[in-house]
């Protein structure tokens, strides 16, 4: 049986959803070691930049 692809829910999504996911996860990874109190605003900014 082929292995279940855990990223299928994202792969099956529309391009803007994929784009938001990639950018937000990268933001979280970049800030994993450094506490950043502005991540809520950063996420909103990402969404606004993608959906104009």
């Amino acid at each position: 049986m082929p292995e279940k692809d855990e990223f299928k829910p994202i792969k099956d999504s529309i391009p803007t959803v994929k784009d938001i996911f990639k950018k937000v996860v990268k933001l979280e990874k970049d800030n994993l070691y450094h506490p950043n109190p502005n991540l809520d605003e950063e996420v909103i900014k990402i969404v606004k930049n993608i959906i104009k």
Binding site: E3, F7, I14, I20, F21, V24, V25, E28, I44
Partner: protein, 694 residues
């Protein structure tokens, strides 16, 4: 994470500065420290955990007295004496140096003021060779090698952690640590921040939208708040249940220690086991029942439909809209032959009657899709005729499952009654201790049940609230608007909502896939080392239970099995992380694909067979293995298995202040090294010597 070298100064027995202790990696990845009891093997293991995490293993005593006694004694009154540990390591291509220093002021000749942590520094080397100071030391180290998993990477074989039956607190820490290693933290954080983003766009829609939108959003905010507060309550209740479970389990253990009630406690374990298995069977059967009902139960309500369809098909046949089961090929054959089955001629040239008959029969073939319609009608008729028997089968299956469920419920009721009777007997025990312990256990067990019920009803409520959230969200999304700004806010809201849903689904799938794969690996690794026919099962909270393969019953793991399980667990985690990192380096975790394993007395609790098997597999357990062994543990089979994979090895020469010291040595390769020798002064200390051509 790969350790490069370690240096200690005035740390416990290690008076003065040790040489730089280089640590093996690569093909020959084992480092061995040979030492007698008391020479400092456990101190060395704890030097690693102290430098990295500031913690010590359970067997490490007087953890507030790290500075060498000899260093204190040799210092003047009022003088400050230091002790430090420095560790160089590499992780994901970056070199790190961590140093921890404690100091104390000498109060008089033989005592010191309380030791204090002077500093911990972590530096990372930039590509140009410069060293930069790193802040958030705990966070950085915790992400590389989670603090909560440290007892698996650095462990004392003589006091191996009970991973088979961890406490509630240990379970939570274990699950959290595994989550960090799995690298799902960025996804969890993403959900948290996306939720805030969704709320922001929700508010924006509310501000800009119609009255209907405003109303829906106000309702959504209300439900969200309820969900959030209930979720927090559930988390607290889970902890409460786990703690209560620990209390009951400890009371059970205390009662079981009394040999006089052994038959009763054993019977109690048996009945509990039966109840557990019956409950599991009931859950599985209920799932099966649900699946049968959803797949086939519609058949039980199709009697009326069946007769309607049969009548309809018959009417079609009577009207001539459907040939009565006459196949197209058969009609073609009749035309070719030129004679109908009734004997009339079908040759159009023969007569007017024959021409008419030929026309009628040929018309059957002209109907578009005749073949398919005919086939479907025949199939439908045939299917409808089997509904009756399938109805009977479905009813039989449902009745059979319900019967089995009933039987298991009876079994649960019988065992519960037995448990009640056992409890009464224990409460009536002439031994006051047993009687009072049982009364306490009973009331704590009642409390546990109460907590579990509370938790269950809260979870049901949470599910209802989650359904309500989804319902309002789709209502909001469906609301139409002409205002451009509101449209934009809605589109953003909708996208964020979808990202959250998809990310949650990814997390769920990752967890399921990883846990399943990890369990398979643990089983494989365990069976390669252990001779016993047991199989480990990994629970949802990442704790492990051991089962006897033949009887499928849970067994208590002895110290030897616990040790083998520990090895299997940690080496399986390491293998899985490596697999994940190479498959999904971009999304998963820490970028850490190398792991060390530091083991004090790994062979202590093992019997001869397990010892040989562990020794043979030890270099494969992790990328880097550092192990501390006594002379008696360094047996021929262990040496033969480990020596070819050992790069650096060291001898801890213990200088004993005792007058009756008996010297001891060890022959490694062609040379003999001192293990114990008399101290030239009144203080103990240990020297570390590298074994040459060992």
């Amino acid at each position: 994470m790969r350790f490069i070298d370690l240096k200690l100064y005035n740390f416990r027995q290690f008076y003065g500065e040790t040489p730089k202790i280089r640590l093996s990696h690569g093909d020959k990845n084992i480092t061995v420290f040979h030492g007698m009891n008391g020479a400092g093997k456990t101190a060395l293991l704890n030097a690693f955990t102290w430098i990295l995490y500031g913690v010590f293993s359970k067997g490490f005593q007087k953890e507030n007295e790290l500075i060498s006694k000899r260093a204190i004694a040799e210092a003047d009154v009022g003088e400050t004496v230091e002790c430090y540990g420095e560790l160089n390591f590499e992780n994901a291509g970056t070199n790190y140096r961590i140093k921890k220093v404690v100091d104390a002021v000498v109060a008089d000749v033989s005592s010191r003021t309380k030791e204090r942590l002077k500093e911990t520094t972590l530096q990372a080397q930039k590509p140009d060779g410069q060293w930069n100071t790193v802040r958030n030391i705990d966070s950085v180290i915790g992400k590389i090698l989670p603090t909560d998993l440290h007892s698996y990477f650095f462990f004392d074989g003589e006091r191996v952690e009970k991973i088979v039956a961890p406490s509630a607190e240990e379970k939570a820490r274990l699950a959290n640590a595994v989550k960090i290693l799995l690298g799902v933290e960025p996804l969890e954080r993403a959900i948290k921040h996306l939720n805030s983003g969704r709320k922001h766009f929700e508010k924006e829609m509310g501000r800009l939208g119609s009255d209907e939108t405003k109303e829906a959003i106000a309702e959504k905010i209300k439900v969200d708040k309820k969900h959030e507060s209930l979720d927090a309550k559930i988390n607290a209740r889970v902890k409460k249940v786990d703690n209560q479970r620990d209390i009951v389990s400890k009371l059970n253990e205390r009662i079981a220690k009394h040999a006089s009630v052994e038959p009763l406690t054993k019977a109690r374990d048996d009945h509990k086991d039966r109840i557990e298995r019956s409950r599991k069977a009931v859950n599985e059967l209920t799932d099966r029942l649900k699946s049968v009902i959803s797949d086939r139960a519609f058949l039980l309500h199709t009697d009326e439909l069946k007769s309607k369809v049969s009548t309809f098909l018959s009417e079609l046949k009577i009207k001539g809209d459907l040939p009565s089961g006459i196949k197209a090929q058969f009609v073609e054959k009749l035309i070719r032959k030129g004679t109908c089955i009734c004997g009339r001629s079908l040759d159009p040239k023969e007569s007017v009657e024959a021409k008419e008959a030929h026309k009628t029969v040929s018309r059957w073939l002209e109907i578009k899709g005749l073949q398919q319609i005919e086939d479907r009608a025949l199939n439908l008729s045939a299917n409808i005729n089997t509904w009756g028997s399938r109805n009977k089968d479905t009813l039989e299956v449902i009745n059979d499952i319900n019967g089995q469920i009933k039987e298991f419920h009876n079994e649960i009721a019988r065992s519960s009654e037995e448990l009640e009777a056992i409890s009464k007997k224990l409460e009536g025990s002439p031994l006051e201790e047993i009687s009072s312990l049982e009364s306490k256990r009973k009331s704590e067990d009642d409390l546990l049940r109460e907590y579990i019920e509370e938790l269950g009803s809260s979870r049901n409520m949470l599910e209802l609230l989650a359904e309500k959230q989804v319902e309002i969200s789709s209502k909001i999304i469906k609301l139409t608007t002409k205002d451009e700004k509101q449209k934009l806010a809605k589109e953003r809201y909708e996208n964020v909502d979808q990202v959250i849903k998809a990310t949650k689904e990814v997390l769920k799938l990752m967890n399921e896939k990883w846990r399943h794969s990890l369990e398979e690996k643990i089983r494989g690794n365990f069976s390669q080392i252990s001779v016993k026919d047991y199989t480990p099962r990994l629970n949802k909270d990442y704790s492990i239970n051991l089962y006897d393969k033949a009887s499928d019953r849970e067994v208590a793991a002895g110290q030897g099995e616990s040790l083998v399980l520990s090895f299997s667990f940690i080496s399986s985690i390491i293998e899985e992380i490596r697999k994940l990192t190479s498959a999904h380096g971009g999304i998963y975790g820490t970028g850490n694909s190398e792991f060390p394993l530091i083991m004090d007395s790994p062979f202590g609790a093992l019997d001869d067979i397990n010892r040989s098997r562990v020794a043979a597999k030890i270099s494969m357990l992790a990328d880097q293995v550092i192990t501390f062994v006594s002379k008696t543990q360094w047996r021929e089979e262990v040496e033969n298995a480990m020596q070819p994979k050992t790069n650096y090895s060291y001898v801890l020469t213990y200088h004993s202040p005792r007058e009756d010291t008996i010297t001891q040595d060890i022959k490694l390769g062609t040379k003999t090294y001192d293990l114990i020798k008399p101290s030239i002064n009144d203080f103990e200390h240990t020297e570390i010597k590298e074994v040459i051509n060992g």
